[in-house]
Symmetry: C2
Subunit: 222 residues, 2 copies
């Protein structure tokens, strides 16, 4: 287990004996689930930190028509719903379901708070995890105001180009991360990038990209 936790962002900077020592000073539980078992129900209170230590899970929602919508898959050694342990609305935002045989390390909120106070690295890691999520969501909201994928992508690359004051830019995110930020599918984003390349508005080669016609890009913003 400690070998797996070494790769977990929450324990970044700790070695496996440090993780072991830290966890053994507090109470934790291991919970096992079989394929398709419900791990957590949307709306139920998050009572502690859940770390996936074997297998993978999916987040699902049921819409008003009773249709099941898959939100995302999460793999070992991910922390589940980290930004929902504290705050006023500290409930699971979605149902969490096992995709296969799954094992989860559970640390109660009280013990977790003690760990945060005891270990500066874990505190920093946890603050980074939840701040990253908040920053991701707040950027995502900006992009949701542009209805077309071209508008979202144009906004993104003009911003990057303005920051560096260069027409040549390097995309810091993979296409699938970028698609998730824009709230679109990866294939539709790829199609838009190919189209902008073919119409000579940009030239794109992997993550390297050059803005050729900024005026045309700006027109996509309105």
């Amino acid at each position: 287990m400690y070998q797996i936790l070494l790769k977990c962002l929450l324990f970044n900077g700790l070695n496996s004996s440090e993780i072991e020592e830290l966890l053994e000073s507090f109470t934790y539980r291991k919970r096992k689930f079989v394929k398709n078992e419900l791990i957590a129900t949307s709306g139920n209170i998050v009572k502690g930190i859940n770390i996936l230590i074997a297998g993978d899970v999916r987040g699902e929602m049921v819409d008003f028509g009773g249709k099941i919508i898959k939100i995302e898959d999460m793999q070992t050694p991910k922390v589940l719903a980290p930004a929902f342990l504290f705050g006023k609305n500290n409930v699971y935002p979605v149902d969490i379901i096992a995709n296969c045989n799954v094992e989860i390390l559970f640390i109660h909120k009280d013990s977790f708070l003690k760990i945060l106070q005891l270990n500066k690295a874990v505190l920093m890691n946890y603050l980074n995890i939840i701040s990253n999520q908040s920053q991701f969501l707040s950027t995502k909201i900006k992009f949701l105001s542009f209805h077309s994928i071209k508008g979202k992508f144009a906004h993104y690359i003009i911003n990057l180009s303005n920051q560096s004051n260069e027409k040549e830019i390097f995309l810091p995110l993979s296409q699938s991360k970028l698609a998730s930020l824009f709230g679109v599918t990866r294939p539709s984003l790829s199609r838009v990038i190919r189209e902008l390349n073919d119409t000579k508005i940009i030239s794109a080669k992997g993550k390297k990209l050059k803005i050729l016609d900024e005026t045309a890009l700006i027109e996509f913003l309105s």
Copy 2:
């Protein structure tokens, strides 16, 4: 200053002598700004926690056309950009400008981390503040997928009614908070509520509300 900090969410549960004792054990600075002075620039690194202890400030963005967009006003004793102190993208998301004579308490990130480790209440408060923000943004994203205000409001009240299994519901948020969650103005939201009331789809009296025609509401969702 300690009387003002008593009302700051970050020091919730502490009395003024506890706040004084805590702050005096660490280094902090007071920074003063005059009306319209730039306090922080969008894109610059957030080096510590900034708490407004006198006056009020505004967040502003400049769009690609050079137009200034006001994002929000923040009043004493608000913590500025709390979710941008940690994380990969720990920069101010907007320009922050003084609306009048302003005083800010600044605590460097290193000292702030020590305070978090030393004082469990402040740690919990800070985790609550940034988790609340993340939860607010993640709910907001759900509502942004409905383009009409009627769709957003219908989704919101059907959800509340399903949670309690009652047709009569009590709005837990004020109309202006709700408008901010939906990303719309308060007057437009009021108009929609009035219209739904006048067409007998709901009956609304202040924060008390009854769903009269759920089928009509569900139609607004598509």
